[in-house]
Structures are given as structure tokens and as C-alpha cells.
């Protein structure tokens, strides 16, 4: 409803809505601020032991030090590369495998129990095997990331493909469409929302994969910083790495959310 003349009641309503969302944002920031302040004060006044809990100022100092000695971007870059590469491979491969399974009823039915088991299996159990197969380089970590994301990607996409509207399928069949046409004209475009939600889930999976991979075997990266910091009892380093991880994961999620908004706008 585009109306040049907005009534007083409507104006008041709009103001109320805006007021509410401002209040929510203030509350969000206030919680973070309160938490950081309380944490800092507790550490300063020795209510808690800053050696094991660290503190915001110590975290800040650690990150600045990492930046100054040049290793910050080395570690962030390493993990980011592993995560993005693993994410991309899992998404592309998962999509293709899901397409093949959609295409072949027989293959889908035959492989179903295998996917169920693989989905339930905690992939970290394969850690030692991965080290032996792929060595101690980045490949092992990327493989771990792919492994964790792949099955989820396949199952999510397959669900989306199989949920194609029966009547629209009938419509295309009545026009004489072949399977490839059904796939390209209907199944792929109609499963776009599933693709977006699969991307969102896999962002989380990719970070789990790369960090877990770095726990098992690594020479650099954020997961490496966490493990190393823990081993030498530098908990400032552990906390700093976790903070960096929070920021990166949020940024990657934001990128996917942006893609979603662009795609939906195009619809």
C-alpha cells in the first residue's frame, strides 16, 4: 500500500515498530558490552584467575601482537583457505552426487543405507586414517572438511530434488518433456531454496571440518593456535583464536545471507 498521505495512526504504528527494533539492537549491544566489562573487571580485580580465563584486554593485546609479528594473516589465511576449499568441494560434489541419485531410482535405493550410516558416523573417527592417507599437510584438513560437509550436502539437496511438485512434473510430462528437460526446467530451479539452506548448513560444517582437521594435524591456522595455546597454557592465545573464529564464521554466514537476498530478489 503506497499512500502519500499517511494517517496519524499509521505513523504511530511505524514509529512503534522502529522503536522496537532499535530497542532490540540496543539490548544486543548492551549484553556484549556488559559481558566484556564484567569479564574485564573480574580479571582486573582478581575475582577470577586471568591466567586461565584471560580477559578482553589480554585478548586484544594478543591479537595486536599476532598482527605485529605478521602471523595473524598467516594463520587466518591458512584456515580460511582450507575452509573455503573444503566448502566449495563439498557443495559442488554434493550437488552433483545428489543429481545422480535423483536421476537413478535404482542407485538411490541401493545406496540409501550407506548414506544413512555415513551420515551418522562421527567423521572425526577417521582422523588417524586421514593422516596416514593424506600426510600432515593441508590436504588432510581439506579432506576432513569435505568429509564432514559432503554427506549433509548430498542428503539436503536430494531432499530438495525429490520434493519437486508432482503436478508440475505432470504438466511437463504432458508437454512431452524428457528427463533432462524436467531436470533443467523444473527440478533445479524449484530446489533453489534448498540449495541456499544447504549452503547455510555447510558454512557451519566447513568450519567444524577445518578446525577439527587442524586439531588432528596442522602447522598453522586458527585451530592450530587453539591446540598450541592449550598445550603451552597460553590461554590468551586460545581465547583470541576463538574470538577471531567467531568473527570469520559470522562474516562467511553474512556472505551466504547476502547471496540469498540477491537470489530471492531476482525471483
Amino acid at each position: 500500500m503506497k499512500n502519500e498521505l499517511i494517517s496519524k495512526e499509521h505513523l504511530a504504528y511505524l514509529r512503534r515498530v522502529r522503536g522496537k527494533s532499535v530497542a532490540v539492537n540496543i539490548a544486543r549491544i548492551a549484553i556484549l558490552f556488559l559481558f566484556l566489562t564484567l569479564w574485564e573487571l573480574s580479571a582486573q580485580n582478581a575475582w577470577i584467575n586471568p591466567f586461565i580465563t584471560s580477559s578482553p584486554s589480554r585478548v586484544y593485546k594478543t591479537i595486536v601482537d599476532l598482527y605485529k609479528n605478521g602471523s595473524l594473516f598467516h594463520h587466518v589465511g591458512t584456515t580460511l583457505r582450507e575452509t573455503l576449499l573444503g566448502f566449495a568441494i563439498a557443495v559442488v560434489l554434493g550437488y552433483v552426487i545428489a543429481l545422480i541419485l535423483w536421476w537413478s531410482d535404482a542407485l538411490r535405493r541401493i545406496t540409501e543405507p550407506y548414506f544413512v550410516v555415513l551420515n551418522a558416523l562421527p567423521k572425526i573417527a577417521l582422523g588417524p586414517l586421514i593422516i596416514i592417507w593424506f600426510g600432515t599437510g593441508n590436504e588432510a584438513i581439506v579432506f576432513m572438511t569435505v568429509l564432514i560437509g559432503l554427506i549433509v550436502a548430498i542428503l539436503n539437496m536430494l531432499n530438495g530434488f525429490m520434493a519437486t511438485d508432482k503436478n508440475k512434473l505432470l504438466l511437463l510430462e504432458s508437454m512431452g518433456a524428457n528427463k533432462l528437460q524436467i531436470l533443467t526446467k523444473l527440478v533445479i530451479p524449484s530446489s533453489l531454496p534448498n540449495f541456499i539452506s544447504m549452503l547455510k548448513i555447510n558454512v557451519g560444517m566447513a568450519w567444524i571440518g577445518s578446525i577439527m582437521g587442524e586439531y588432528i594435524v596442522s602447522k598453522a591456522g586458527i585451530g592450530y593456535l587453539i591446540v598450541y595455546g592449550g598445550q603451552v597454557f597460553k590461554l590468551d592465545l586460545v581465547m583470541s583464536a576463538v574470538v577471531i573464529l567467531c568473527v570469520l564464521a559470522a562474516a562467511m554466514y553474512a556472505v551466504v545471507a547476502l547471496i540469498e537476498r540477491l537470489v530471492i530478489k531476482n525471483k
Partner: protein
């Protein structure tokens, strides 16, 4: 008149783990060129099966469906427009499927759309159209490949009553105007009377044809037919046969 579709002793059996269902049993009827035929039957009696057989999507268990060389266009209960395509792209869909997406065919489809008042909506997405307009777009999509026979599977049943009457009127006029043969299946007696030249009545499952009527009115337009005295007489006759 030439025959465009004939069911010759057609029976259809469905198999599932639970057993065998006989959907149609020895169904015989034919549709002549230019005719508007309606088939009415109780819900779940196998009406959609009948249309799928006519369209060649299913093969009958016994008997024959004969439709030498004629092409069919299918219209479903809902418009089934693809929400990610504009109205124009939706109308071109069957051209793409039939690999007949030539500029000549496209402009023919577009001129149909313009003729029937869709011009201003061509670049819009289906979600911005009313139910009636969407159904009209679905009809133009069906007509885009110039089929000889239209198969209508309760094409108005998803609309509310008001829209339904006007869309029925609308679709009927377009089909007559374009001189198409049409086979409508419905459970709505009044809808069948208001549009058809001929009505076949199906029984409960296993469906058989239990009656055949030639409907003659001085008027041809659906809304006017509904006001005619004959209308209620036909309604009574068909009602009894349907529930007999």
C-alpha cells in the same frame, strides 16, 4: 465430423503392494472435432486416469485409446505457473519443451496473450496476478503450441466461487474462439452443463460410462446458460444419474 479421440473398451488396472485396483472398466466414448465434451463423475472415480490415458501418459491395461496424429494440451486444477518465470517465459515453456522455440511460434503465442488481455502482465511474475488471470495465463500457455485437443482436469476447482464462474466463462470463450476441441472432466454438474455440447456420466469405481447426453441450449455462453430454465432440468437429470 471427424473423430479426434476414441476410447475403445478401455480398462485400467493399478497395481500396488496392497493389491490391484480397477480404475476404469470398459469405457467407450469418442470426441469429435470442434466438440466440447464434459465427463462428470464422483470424486475419486478415476477421472484423472482417464485424462492421462487420453494424453498418452498412461497405457491402458485392456482396450485402445485412438487419437491418430492429434496433439493434446493439458490443463490442470491449479495453474502450475512456475513462480521463477515471468508470465511470458511461462507461456514459452511448452515451446522450449517441444523444441519449437522459434521467433515465429513465440510471436504467435504472444499475440494470443495480447488478444486475451495478458499484454500488461507479460513481464510480471505469477505471484503478482489474481487467480483468474493466472488461470488465463495457464490456458494461453497450453494454447501456445497450438494443440488440436484441450484436456481440462477440473481447471477451475482451485478458485473461489465468484472467480470460478467468471474464469469458466472466460476460458470457454477463448476455447470456442480458437475453435479447439475440448475434453473437460469435473465433478461439478453445473459447470459441465454450462459449457458442454455433450456430457458423459461416470459411475463410482470401477468407473463405467452410465449415461450420455447431448446438451442443447439456445445460448452458448456459460453464464447465460446458467440463467436458462433448461439448466435446472439438466441439473436434476445429471444429479440423479451421478448419485444413482
Amino acid at each position: 465430423m471427424k473423430e479426434v479421440l476414441r476410447f475403445d473398451n478401455v480398462s485400467m488396472h493399478y497395481h500396488s503392494k496392497q493389491g490391484e485396483t480397477v480404475a476404469l472398466e470398459k469405457v467407450n466414448f469418442s470426441v469429435a472435432e470442434g466438440e466440447f465434451v464434459a465427463i462428470i463423475g464422483p470424486s475419486g472415480c478415476g477421472k484423472t486416469t482417464l485424462l492421462s490415458l487420453a494424453a498418452g501418459l498412461l497405457t491402458p491395461t485392456y482396450g485402445k485409446v485412438i487419437s491418430d496424429g492429434y496433439s493434446f494440451g493439458y490443463m490442470l486444477q491449479k495453474d502450475e505457473l512456475f513462480p521463477w518465470r515471468t508470465i511470458e517465459k511461462n507461456i514459452f515453456l511448452p515451446l522450449e519443451i517441444k523444441r519449437a522455440n522459434t521467433s515465429e511460434n513465440r510471436s504467435r503465442a504472444l499475440s494470443l496473450a495480447e488478444k486475451y488481455g495478458l499484454k500488461q502482465f507479460l513481464k510480471n511474475y505469477p505471484s503478482s496476478l489474481s487467480g483468474g488471470m493466472r488461470q488465463r495465463a495457464a490456458l494461453i500457455r497450453t494454447l501456445a503450441v497450438d494443440p488440436d485437443v484441450l484436456l481440462l482436469d477440473e481447471p477451475f476447482s482451485a478458485l473461489d466461487y465468484q472467480t470460478r464462474l467468471s474464469v469458466c466463462d472466460d476460458v470457454y470463450k477463448i476455447i470456442r474462439n480458437e475453435k479447439k476441441t475440448a475434453l473437460l472432466i469435473t465433478h461439478d454438474i453445473s459447470e459441465a452443463i454450462s459449457v458442454a455440447d455433450k456430457i458423459f456420466v461416470l459411475s463410482h469405481r470401477p468407473a463405467k460410462i452410465v449415461a450420455e447426453h447431448v446438451i442443447e441450449f439456445s445460448e452458448t455462453e456459460p453464464l447465460k446458460r446458467r440463467e436458462n430454465k433448461e439448466f435446472s432440468r439438466w441439473f436434476e437429470v445429471l444429479w440423479k444419474e451421478l448419485n444413482g
